[in-house]
């Protein structure tokens, strides 16, 4: 009996440091944000009276077209970036899985964009897109593709896509690495047998390769989607949400509600709604992943 108690005590002692840190820095703040979302609290230097206002913030948020637009833009950013990263990443993995001279070197090279810090990536692309002296304008002019310099990040119709391009450049290597590792586990005799039976390259990919690598791919898709949905840093550096709010994503929207307008109550409601969408994303992918691969 006492040794059983000892084992349980030991278990909780081992868990203690992690539980303490996560409770103080994650669980309790989350509950506090949840509480604030039901109040009319504001950030102020003076002590203020905070009153409970029920679902009012949520009703307001769900009918606020600006907020809903920012959610739409965030979903657009998440969907386009992650799909482009997966398509490009899997393509590159298939390429790097071939035998050719210098394969080790190319494999090492493609880790570069991923290793460069997000902020440096954002700054680099902002310089490349610069309307007056940017490399993209210069290159496209010299190639004769555009007649005059354009303001890539200043044009509401293209700004978000330019940010997506910068994000894809940085993050596709990770997908490529995961896909490449998964490809190396695909049994080659299965592929050879299919080839001998006359299955074309596309058919072999869909019938054998893709089902084999989908499990690990789904894991990385979840990670990337959750990360893309909270996008803040690259937006902050490249456009600060402009032009005409066309790149203002949900995280940026909440950030402004808190720190520009100092509305902690309604800001918290927005934050909780963003969290709820993240949770839906996570659960959706988790189920998809479980269906594909029972080991997850």
């Amino acid at each position: 009996m006492s040794s059983l108690f000892g084992a349980r005590l030991q278990k909780w002692l081992l868990l203690a440091p992690a539980i303490v840190v996560l409770s103080l820095i994650s669980f309790i703040p989350f509950v506090k944000t949840l509480w604030l979302s039901f109040t009319d609290s504001e950030i102020s230097a003076l002590p203020t009276v905070v009153s409970f206002i029920g679902l009012e913030n949520y009703l307001y948020a769900l009918t606020d077209p600006d907020f809903l637009d920012s959610i739409g833009r965030t979903l657009y950013f998440t969907f386009t970036s992650v799909s482009a990263e997966v398509i490009l990443g899997v393509g590159v993995a298939l390429l790097l899985n071939q035998q050719f001279k210098g394969r080790t070197l190319v494999r090492a090279l493609i880790i570069l964009p991923w290793a460069i810090p997000t902020i440096v990536n954002a700054v680099t692309w902002r310089l490349i897109y610069n309307p007056d002296y940017g490399a993209l304008n210069s290159l496209l002019t010299q190639l004769g593709i555009i007649g005059e310099y354009r303001s890539w990040l200043g044009d509401p119709d293209v700004a978000m896509n330019m940010i997506v391009l910068a994000d894809v450049w940085k993050n596709f290597p990770l997908v490529a690495y995961v896909a490449l590792a998964a490809l190396q586990t695909v049994p080659s005799d299965m592929l050879n047998a299919a080839r001998i039976e006359g299955a074309g390259a596309l058919r072999r990919f869909y019938k054998i390769t893709l089902p084999w690598i989908i499990g690990p791919l789904l894991v990385i898709i979840v990670l990337r989607s959750v990360e893309a949905f909270r996008v803040f840093d690259i937006i902050y550096v490249m456009t600060r949400g402009g032009p005409a709010n066309q790149t203002k994503t949900a995280s940026f929207y909440v950030y402004q509600e808190y720190f520009s307008y100092l509305r902690s109550g309604s800001g918290s409601a927005y934050a909780i709604l963003v969290a709820v969408i993240s949770i839906i994303l996570i659960i959706g992918y988790y189920k998809a992943a479980k269906k594909q691969n029972n080991t997850l």
Binding site: L15, V21, L22, V92, F100, F232, V274
Partner: protein
């Protein structure tokens, strides 16, 4: 799935064409960043651009590494903060992560708790930021390295627990049992039996933790306001936000900030995949 069948000539051409395009896509922005950092301001503001600098100018790096210079001081202080904060947070996260992972792997700690841990990093940081801000403010630790170290620990621990758990799970339990039978305590077993075997996993986890902390921007932007705790990403955002008009300075700061993570990533290349997707792929 090695492709051992001989390729036809057109297929070979296509393969090398694709490889060339890939290399250009990956390298062009990096090379341009390097070139900007050593080009003269005149070259960088000519229309259309001069791609190859007319003179190679390394003075910006000298300025950045000079503590007695305004931008040098800002840069070096931020670099120091980033190093201290990322290293300390990674160390604490690994320490508590290994202990918790052992409880999950070998002491039947409930998996729902593990999912609760993971759920905390799946949430967007905007759901934590305001309560953290007011608590740090009440404690008087806003704008200190301490505030960032604590926040980063919470970001890194769930990840460290998950990675270490998948690595301890696959170890044969007999070795530990043998040690326990001979009278060794749990701490001794963990330190002398388990840790040496999972050392590569610890290295990979440490690297991924360090890179994550080095990259973090949002908490640092909100919690720190001056040289005493500002990290590199925020310093770079400052540099690029108008105070500096010379693209070359911004580029050279970017190059310097990328050196430590690039070295780590190249060195630990083969651990990245196994680190990220755990047991689902043997990278």
């Amino acid at each position: 799935m090695e492709n051992t069948i001989k390729r036809s000539a057109p297929m070979s051409c296509l393969l090398y064409l694709a490889l060339t395009l890939l290399s250009i896509f990956v390298l062009a922005p990096v090379i341009w960043l390097l070139l900007m950092s050593v080009s003269s301001p005149n070259d960088l503001t000519s229309v259309p651009l001069k791609w190859i600098p007319s003179t190679w100018d390394f003075s910006r790096y000298a300025t950045l590494l000079d503590w007695n210079n305004g931008s040098g001081k800002r840069f070096l202080a931020a670099m120091g903060n980033s190093l201290i904060i990322a290293a300390t947070a990674s160390f604490i996260a690994l320490f508590s992560g290994v202990l918790a992972a052992y409880a999950f792997s070998r002491r039947n700690a409930s998996l729902s708790l593990m999912f609760a841990f993971l759920a905390t990093i799946m949430m967007p940081p905007i759901t934590y930021i305001l309560p953290l801000y007011s608590v740090f403010s009440d404690l008087g630790i806003l704008n200190t390295k301490m505030a960032l170290i604590i926040s980063y620990c919470a970001m890194l621990i769930p990840f460290a627990v998950w990675l270490m758990k998948t690595n301890i799970d696959v170890l044969p339990v007999e070795i530990e049992q043998a040690a326990l039978v001979e009278g060794a305590g749990t701490v001794y077993t963990l330190r002398k039996v388990v840790l040496p075997i999972v050392l590569p996993a610890i290295g990979a986890t440490a690297m991924l933790s360090f890179l994550t902390a080095w990259d973090e921007f949002f908490y640092s932007l909100i919690f720190s306001s001056d040289l005493s705790s500002k990290t590199l990403p925020v310093a770079i955002a400052d540099f690029s936000a108008g105070r500096v008009t010379d693209f070359g300075v911004i580029a050279s700061v970017g190059v310097m900030a990328s050196i430590p993570p690039v070295i780590l990533a190249v060195f630990f290349q083969r651990f990245i995949v196994s680190g990220l997707v755990g047991g689902s792929v043997k990278g």
